[in-house]
Symmetry: C2
Subunit: 306 residues, 2 copies
């Protein structure tokens, strides 16, 4: 698959995800809801719509597609994961957290609205993620829906993403920068767990057998690691204008990063090694041509410009 | 059932809930979690342990018991709902929200820790709630687990509790106090939806037939309404010392309340009418003696001193 064809697929899925998010964030209430307050819905849409590569739902949708499953199940699983990703950005940007004014080239949610609205919009997006997964519209099989709920909770909760953000904040006030193993654990929790689960969710909705699912989890893990190292490289090399958010934050805060520990060239070698691990995992999953999009995805996260 | 016997039952369940929360908030990781950061766990335990009537899990456990079901299923469903209740208190107390320093007679979580830890502790508790419900340890039947996930998401999300908090914050900056119907909607969302679901969750784990479940939902709704009116009465009558949190907030903020609209006596009549509705719903559910604890619970929420 050519890079152009991959980019087109990425854009097509992103459009599908944008439309899907707009639908689940519409003003009309679902059964069991009392009302959807206008300002809350606006803040949630602001935090979730209009940007982002939609990499996580792309991984869910393309993993399921490689396993022969397309349609609402992988799309809705991907929407739920993207809701969690977007809530984490809204909360991480808050003044008490990373205190960022700019995200995807626009004012952050608490800047465009206010802090209370941003906190509630994040809470609402997190809750909505489980609503989407548990809804029979996602899959007729309750076992699959509840496996998605459990997997998402564990990837994004105290032992995953939320815990990773806590470690990240603690690192900033630590006496010395983190060492390599501490950074790996922090990153595996903060961004790795959800990326890994995005792949696993595709395997869950497709009902992949255990061995294949395990190989795909390894792919997701390696891709997540490549993503994190690439992120540190980007933060060191790119400008704020290129990123659409503040660049050079890591150095400014004296946190340990893959670049500060391994140097720029060392970090690039590490990133490339993770990409190779991801490709090897797809071979272990016995993916031939049907794995090409996922192979491109691993190269893409390593080479992306923002 | 005597008032003393009811108080004893309430205390016994509260102890069970406290122990259950301490167990799910232990430092040891579950499968699929990478690590549980120390400070995050401390903040989550601070926000969840050591206080509260545990009314919501009590309703879940006692509803299931009245339907003949005891054990882990109703307890764990109750723990999940209590996690959501506690997260909502931690986030609502934040400076950007209600800005409270005192809760259950102790400094609020952001005062005892810091704002970032409180935001993350809340996010962690919310996510943990769905982890608990989706875990096979809650019930062997995936249909029941996923019904709990969906019900909790809808009661506590944008069209329920989170939405209600948004309306509450908006009411404070509104030009004029809310009228009766606006207050009812706000309260039904902010506190009513989760109380109602606490009862419904008991019916779900017990596999109650549809008509009985519907009657129990009406009981939960009426009990929730009685609770809200009683809350306004308490806020108007009690001292901060009695409440363990700041009293007289409603009047101070010029929000409409059931007391400001109906007067103290009118509010008390309204509260008692909701208690009667709750009792009638238990009769409609064809509960005889096995409904006595739930009948006492309805009277208790109306008469409680804090």
């Amino acid at each position: 698959m050519s890079t152009d064809a991959f980019s087109q697929r990425l854009s097509a899925v992103a459009e599908q995800v944008e439309a899907g998010l707009a639908a689940v964030l519409a003003d009309a209430s679902l059964p069991g809801e009392i009302a959807r307050p206008k300002r809350l819905m606006e803040a949630m849409r602001y935090g979730a719509l209009g940007g982002g590569k939609r990499l996580r739902p792309f991984l869910t949708i393309e993993t399921a597609r490689a396993l022969g499953v397309v349609g609402d199940a992988p799309l809705r699983a991907g929407l739920a994961i993207e809701c969690v990703h977007c809530y984490s950005l809204v909360h991480d940007d808050l003044p008490a957290m990373d205190d960022d004014d700019l995200r995807r080239g626009r004012p952050t949610t608490h800047k465009a609205f206010d802090e209370a609205s941003a906190i509630l919009a994040g809470d609402g997006l997190l809750t909505l993620a489980f609503d989407i997964l548990a809804d029979p519209a996602t899959h007729m099989d309750a076992e699959i829906r509840v496996a998605l709920c459990l997997g998402l909770a564990r990837a994004s909760g105290l032992g995953g993403m939320v815990g990773g953000q806590m470690l990240d904040i603690e690192a900033e006030s630590a006496a010395s920068p983190l060492d390599d193993s501490a950074i790996r654990r922090l990153q595996a929790m903060k961004t790795g767990a959800l990326l890994r689960f995005a792949v696993e969710a595709g395997a869950i909705v497709a009902g992949a057998p255990a061995a294949r699912r395990a190989a795909l989890v390894k792919y997701g893990e390696a891709l997540g690691s490549a993503f994190q190292v690439a992120d540190d490289i980007l933060d060191a090399e790119a400008t704020s204008e290129q990123l659409g958010k503040r660049a050079g934050k890591d150095a400014e805060r004296n946190k340990g990063t893959f670049v500060s520990i391994h140097g720029l060239d060392g970090a690039k070698r590490l990133r490339d090694a993770f990409v190779q691990q991801a490709l090897a995992a797809l071979d272990a999953a016995e993916f031939q041509a049907q794995g090409d999009i996922l192979r491109q995805a691993a190269r893409f996260v390593a080479a992306r410009a923002k």
